[in-house]
Structures are given as C-alpha cells and as structure tokens.
C-alpha cells in the first residue's frame, strides 16, 4: 500500500463519515476537557502535576457504574429515568472522586508540603498513589474487565439524525453535561469568593496567606473541584466505554496532553485542549496504518511530546498565576 494511497483512503473515510467522527470526537473531547480542568487547577495552586488524577477519574467512574447497576438491576431505564440516573451517577461519581482526591492530597502531598520537600519527592509519591489506586481497583473489580453501567439508556438509542448520521443519545448527554459542568467550574473560579482564593493562591501563595486566604482550605477546595469534575467525567465515559481499572492511565495522559496543549494553569485552555484532543483522536482513526487503532495513541503522544518540546507554555499560553 503506497503512502499516497494511504492518505487518500484516509481522507475518503473522513469524507464518508465526517459527522460520525465529529460526534465521537466531541463526546470524548468533553470527557477529556473535564479531566484536564482538574490537572490545570491543581497545577495552578500547587505548581505540580497531579499524576494520580487519572486514577481519581477511574474511581469516580466505578462509583457511578456501581450505583446505576445497583439501582437498575436487569431493567432498562427510559425517559426521565435515564436523566435521573445520569445525574445520580455523575453526582455519586463526583462525590467519590472528590473524596479520593482529598485522600491523595492528604496522604501523598500534604506531609511532603509541610516539610517543604523537593519536587522530585512529590512526583514520586504521586506515582505511588496512582499505582496504589489502580491496583487496588484491579484487585477488587478485576483486571482488564470493562464494567458497564447497566441499561441507563435503551440500547442503541438514537436521539436524532443529522446529515444522514444517527446521533447517539449518549453523545448528546455527554456533551451537554460537560458543557454545564465546565461553565459552572469556570464561573466558580472566576466569579466567586472561593475562586478568588484559588486564583490568589496560584498567583502568589505567600502573599495570599498574608491577605487572609487560608491556603490549606483553598488547596482542599481545588482538589474537590478537580476531583468532582473528573468523577462526573468518569461516569460519562463509562456510559459508552465502560470503566476498567487501568482506564485512568491512558485517559489521564490524554487529558494531561489537553491541559498542556491549552497552557497548563489555564482553565479555558484546558477545556479547549480537551475538545481538540478528542476531535484529533477521532479524526486520526482513518489514518492508522494497517487499520491498527494504536496509531491514534501514537499520534496523541506525539502531540504531547512535540508541544512540550516546542512550546511548553501551550497554545494559549501558560497562565498559572494570572487567570487560573
């Protein structure tokens, strides 16, 4: 197969199923955006990459999945039942993830922060936390077994047909929920007192504490906010793909790529970056050599590496300290 042919067939496929790729891209992008915001918020406040954030996402996904499975049993939800289940799953996922995020902060970061330990120590203990959570989930819920949240929607439920493409209800729900959550997070950070505290701490923690901002509680709120978004994202992700113990690693790296792409520390940048990565991955599927889907991963990691090497401040510019 010649290289030219490879490109042409790729574009042919995109042409044939443009709206399908767009739908999948937006759906995944919404999830990535919600996780990326967590990375960016923590980076703004603590100045470190929360390596365990992917696992926070995974825990939320499991919580939501078990809740809906428990409620539904063998039944199939319809109408308002589906809506209620999605909201309940997102809430419980968000709560559990927020709790896990606080746990990670308390156990893996706080003791080190109090000793003013070097950055290397934070990275290592974060990797430890991520390993721990991932393996514990694997031990309890099985390794490599995707668990689905039961029939929250009727199987293959189509919301509407656009340009000859049937748009899944799940995709629409994911995008709407993500937009609502992201706008809420943006408002919280920009327009409330809590958000002002977060922005103040990311600008200059010491001065902020002199001005009466409680740094410890601000850090806690940041982890709660990021964790809640990631947990809700975990449930949304599991609607389509199910949740598995090592989902956090892969999705976590994609979301981190998104955060870096948008300029880490920049909330809106992270959201846009997430959307971009989702679309990019979806549209790169037809360009996989020999139809091997792993090429999508390679392309994404290439973006990560290239952005970090060429422009580590991201497309929109690193804003840690200015607008959080």
């Amino acid at each position: 197969m010649g290289f030219e042919h490879f490109w042409l067939s790729g574009f042919d496929q995109v042409h044939a199923a443009f709206w399908r790729y767009l739908e999948v891209g937006l759906q995944n992008g919404a999830v990535y955006a919600m996780i990326a915001v967590g990375y960016t918020l923590v980076y703004g406040v603590l100045g470190l990459i929360n390596f365990a954030h992917g696992e926070v996402f995974m825990c939320g996904g499991f919580a939501g999945v078990f809740l809906t499975r428990g409620i539904l049993g063998d039944r199939v939800a319809t109408g308002w039942g589906s809506v209620g289940l999605v909201i309940a799953g997102m809430i419980i996922g968000g709560l559990v993830s927020a709790a896990v995020a606080i746990g990670v902060e308390r156990v893996a970061y706080k003791p080190l922060r109090q000793r003013n330990a070097p950055k290397l120590a934070f990275l290592i203990s974060a990797i430890g936390a991520s390993y721990f959570l991932q393996t514990l989930a694997g031990k309890e819920f099985g390794y490599g077994v995707n668990i689905f949240p039961g029939a929250v929607f009727e199987p293959g439920k189509v919301m509407f047909t656009m340009f000859g493409t049937q748009i899944d209800t799940i995709a629409v729900v994911c995008v709407i929920a993500a937009v609502v959550m992201l706008v809420a997070a943006d408002r919280i950070v920009r327009a409330t007192k809590l958000g002002r505290g977060i922005r103040a701490v990311s600008q200059d923690a010491e001065t902020a504490s002199l001005m009466g901002v409680n740094i410890e509680s601000t850090i806690m709120i940041t982890f709660i906010l990021g964790g809640a978004l990631a947990g809700a994202a975990g449930f949304l992700y599991s609607l389509n793909s199910g949740i598995v113990q090592n989902a956090g690693t892969e999705i976590g790296i994609y979301a981190f790529t998104a955060a870096v792409l948008g300029g880490i520390g920049n909330l809106r940048g992270a959201a846009l970056g997430g959307l971009f990565i989702g679309l990019f991955q979806s549209f790169s599927v037809p360009f996989s050599f020999e139809g091997n889907v792993q090429w999508t991963e390679i392309y994404t990691f290439l973006i990560l590496v290239l952005v970090l090497i060429i422009r580590p401040t991201g497309i929109l510019g690193e804003k840690s300290g200015r607008t959080a």
Binding site: F66, F141, Y143, V305
Partner: protein, 448 residues
C-alpha cells in the same frame, strides 16, 4: 489519664483507618472472572468484593490489632523523641560502620566472594535463572537509572526504553527479527554487547538533547510519552519487530578465542558470571564518575541549576551525559536479557518496568550506588519469592499495590532511601529547612 484525650482518640481513629486499608489490601480479591453482577445484592454486598470487608470475621482481628497498636504507642508516647533518635541512629549504622576505607574494602571483597560462590549453593536451574533475570539484570537497570535520577536529579519515567533498545538491537544484529539483520549478515550475540550499549547511549543522546531543557515534571511526562510511543510502535510494527508475539529466539552467545571455546547454553550459571562481570565494570565506572568532575557537575546542577550555569557548567551537556551513561547499563541489561530469555516481546519493557526500576532506586537510596545495588537485591528477592510461592493469598498483580504504598511511605518517612547517599540525605534535610549545605564539598567532591 490522658489515654482518652481527644488527641489520643484521634490517633486511634487514624490507626483504624490505616488498618482498614491494610485489611482491604491483604483481603480476598474481587471475583475477576465474573465482574460484580447487576443488582444491589450482586455488586455492593458481594462477599468477595471490596465491600465484603465485613463479610467474614476477619475485621474483628484488625479492630483488635488497632487497639493493641494504639495502647502500645500510647505507652511509649512520652519517649517518642528518644525512640525517634534511636531509629535514626540505627538506620545510620551502616554508614557509620563503613566510614573507614579499609572496612569498605573488606566488605567489598566479602561481597565479591559471596557473589562468586552463590551458584555453588543453588542447585536448581530455575532459581539460578531467576537470580540472573530478576536480580542481575535489574541491578544493572537500577544502577543505570541511579545515574539519571540519583546523580543528576532527572526523573525519567521511560527508562525501560533503553532496556528495549538494547534488547531489540541484539535481536536485530543476530538476525532474530522478521526484518533481515544489518548487511544481511547476523553476528554472534557476544559481539552485540558493545553495539547494544552504544546504540542505547546514542538513543539517550537523541532523546535527551531536545527534552532535557524542560523542567522536572515536564521531563517526567515527556520521557513517559516517548516510552509509550516506543511501546506502541514496537507492537504495531509486527513486520519489523515481531509485534506483540515477539521475535524469533536470539542465539545463545558463544565465546571463541581460538584456544578457548565457550558456549552459553540453557544453563543460567554462565550468564550469572557474565552479568556479574558487567555489574562490577559498571559499578567501577559509576563510582569513579561520581567522584570525577562530571559527578560534581551533576551534584551542582541537581542542587541549583542556575548557580551551576553561572559558574560555567553547561547543564544541558551534563544532563545529556547522564542520560547516555545511564542508558549504557540499561542497554547492556537488554542485550543480556536477549541472550538469556531468547524471545523478546514488548511485554518486557512496559511503563510498569520503568516504574519498578524507579522504585528500586528510591528504596535503596537515590545517588547511593551501594544502596541501590543492595535495595535491588532485597526487593527483587522478596518479589520473586512472593510471585513464585504466593503465600497468604498473595496474587502476582498485588505487587504493584504494595509498590505504590511503599513509594508513598518512603517519600513521607525516608525520602533519601534505605542506605542514603550522605549528600542526598543532607539535601533533603536542607530543603526542609534543616542543615546548610557546605559549598566547599561540592568543589572537593564527596569523600565519605
């Protein structure tokens, strides 16, 4: 009595929380073949799952254990400071005892003799094989990563990539890849050793030059990204690398000096000696590097990059050098694995391998060559034992849970490692507002 004071009761609560986590960690695994089924009773209350903590009477044991630990610790609380000092003094014992050069030489000689006679005591080929594959190769890897993380202070999460390069270069030159060997002429495995080392070093330079300008956490992510790319690439390119199934067998090395002919076969013992020779070589090289001007430059960069640059040290040059030097021993580890294992597949070089090597370095003590070597032997022995005997319901995958917990605990209580390098321990203390670092030691080098 202050036993039931609020502070003391809070301590009891936290002891219970920690023990609950331990109870879950050591408890029965969830049922992997059938994931938690539908319905409330299928998932939440499943006897074997996470939520089944209270399904057996085991929890009572842990509650009682918590009370016992609490009582003992309460009794010793007034003397906490003393105990703390005692523990510190005990942990510093190996450093103190080896303060004299003569003692160190004697210990080294003893260690060498012990290493030479180990095969005499181990008769089962299986265990000998494990010693080479699980300890020998990993000591090489850990020593290599120690140069990068310990000496130069760069967090590399993709160290397995160097290992992979060494192994795949071996497969390539010996003609074990689906792709024909270079110049269509396979060469003996033993001759690949220098080639594998050089290839890994070149790769270290190629990888390091663009990435090492980045800050610490970004560097970690970039190295991780590269490792994942290589991993995926190796798996997708089955026409070149054999893909997920692996290569065809790499031939066993043969030494032919005309008058002397030796063939490494299925028996692992000759590999053991080959590995030992190279471990000693790398130990010697790394120790002398540590005390050379290169080692001092690494210390300077690690402690304060801006200051190092202002006294004329080119940080990038020395960082790339650390990558290349570390890659050398990783690359050799790969060649050795190629000869020993034969069939090379991507499963040998995953992200988990990189993190495992990092754990060995941190456990032994970043920057402390002997600490890393000893720590590797300890951890790898324990994990090999656990994996092969699986005592107390232990399962192979559980290992990573304990590794994660170990990393956190080490970072909280003993960030400089089990057998810390003296300088590294002081850096950690200094960063935490303790002792000052004396700059003249940077210039004269660490002379323990």
């Amino acid at each position: 009595m202050s036993l039931i004071s609020p502070a003391n009761l809070r301590r009891l609560f936290w002891i219970w929380v920690i023990l609950a986590i331990v109870a879950v960690m050591t408890g029965t695994s969830g049922n992997n073949s059938t994931p938690p089924t539908t319905g409330v009773h299928g998932s939440f209350m499943e006897r074997v799952s996470f939520f089944g903590l209270f399904a057996t009477w085991r929890w009572l044991l842990f509650v009682a254990l918590g009370v016992i630990i609490w009582l003992i610790s309460s009794a010793y609380r007034p003397r906490a400071r003393q105990i703390h000092h005692g523990v510190d003094a005990f942990m510093a014992l190996p450093r103190r005892l080896t303060a004299k050069r003569s003692t160190r030489l004697i210990l080294m000689a003893l260690a060498l003799i012990l290493a030479l006679v180990v095969p005499k005591f181990i008769h089962e080929s299986f265990w000998m094989y494990l010693i080479v594959e699980q300890i020998g190769v990993w000591v090489l890897l850990a020593l290599g990563l120690n140069v990068v993380v310990g000496f130069a202070g760069l967090l590399d999460l993709g160290f397995a990539a160097f290992y992979a390069i060494g192994a795949y270069v071996t497969a390539w030159f010996t003609g074990a890849l689906p792709m024909p060997a270079l110049f269509h002429h396979p060469i003996p495995t033993l001759w690949v050793i220098p080639l594998g080392i050089v290839a890994a070093m070149i790769f270290g330079v190629v990888l390091g030059t663009p990435t090492l300008r980045l800050r610490g956490d970004y560097l970690a992510i970039v190295t991780l990204g590269f490792a994942l790319i290589i991993d995926d690439f190796v798996e997708t390119q089955s026409g070149v690398t054999g893909g997920g199934l692996g290569t065809s067998p790499v031939p066993h090395p043969v030494l032919n000096l005309g008058f002397f002919h030796f063939r490494w076969g299925l028996s692992p013992t000759p590999y053991y000696y080959l590995c030992l020779v190279f471990i000693i070589i790398f130990l010697a090289i790394f120790t002398s590097l540590e005390h050379s001007h290169v080692g001092r430059a690494w210390v300077a960069i690690r402690e304060d990059e801006v200051a190092a640059e202002s006294v004329g040290i080119n940080p990038l040059k020395y960082k790339v050098m650390a990558f290349a030097v570390g890659a050398a021993s990783g690359g050799f580890g790969g060649v050795l694995t190629g000869g020993l294992v034969g069939i090379i597949n991507p499963g040998l070089f995953t992200y988990q391998v990189s993190v495992n090597v990092l754990v060995l370095v941190i456990f032994g003590g970043m920057g402390s060559i002997w600490g890393v070597a000893l720590g590797t032997i300890v951890i790898q022995t324990v994990t090999s034992y656990l994996d092969n005997y699986q005592p107390w319901g232990y399962q192979i995958n559980d290992l990573y849970m304990y590794i994660g917990a170990l990393l956190i605990v080490m970072m909280i209580f003993r960030p400089a490692g089990l057998l810390p390098s003296r300088r590294r321990a002081r850096e950690f203390a200094a960063a935490e507002g303790g002792e000052e670092i004396h700059t003249d030691e940077v210039l004269t080098g660490e002379q323990p």
